[in-house]
Symmetry: C2
Subunit: 123 residues, 2 copies
């Protein structure tokens, strides 16, 4: 476990990567696309309960990073579909580990929070 | 890959967990502690290039979540050490996967960004 986080160069790289992709909405969009395959803009919006502006911004960053593709169809009204690239799929695998960890340990985190808050109150 | 992100209940759980732990500074602190074992406040501050205020806030949340412990020593000046709990160590394993993915695919992301920016310019 010693090779990550030690050298300044590696630390800087991880910092750069997590700054780009380590935000909640990026992770949630990737998890959603990973489950569904292809999703339309409005479908993602409803599914995640995210604002229009934040969804637009995050999708554009994910497309720019090469993690998803955007396809516009000349329907009336126009529709836009988002789909993961191969790079995105491999990213989603790593994110999925984090999500699974979260689900598996949610109860422990909740218990720790409760204990912490009670200690704070009693001090 | 279908079981995560489909049911609203699961999606809400993941959302809750990632909202708590899916921020850049939490992830970076956990990666740093995972490499070093025990770290002092000022050591973390220097190592990560994080502001005093943001480091305090994030450490308190991580302690509240049961991921790290905080130990204060009555030295002059006082010192405070942070260390991962067993829960924190298991979390760090999942975060590490994300960090490793990032390092392994940094060049691909950079290439995708460059291509995207060039398309935007030429439009």
């Amino acid at each position: 476990m010693k090779d990550i986080g030690h050298s300044p160069a590696t630390c800087e790289k991880i910092n750069g990567v997590l700054s780009r992709i380590g935000d909640k909405w990026s992770l949630l969009i990737m998890i959603a696309l990973n489950g569904r395959g292809v999703m339309r803009f409005n479908e993602l919006k409803r599914h995640l309960g995210i604002s229009q502006r934040m969804l637009s911004l995050t999708l554009r960053e994910l497309e720019r990073d090469g993690l998803i593709t955007r396809t516009a169809f000349a329907t009336v009204p126009p529709t836009v579909e988002y789909e993961m690239t191969d790079l995105g799929r491999s990213f989603a695998q790593a994110v999925r580990k984090l999500g699974e960890w979260g689900i598996a340990h949610l109860a422990e985190i909740d218990a720790a929070r409760l204990a912490y808050d009670q200690r704070e109150v009693s001090q």
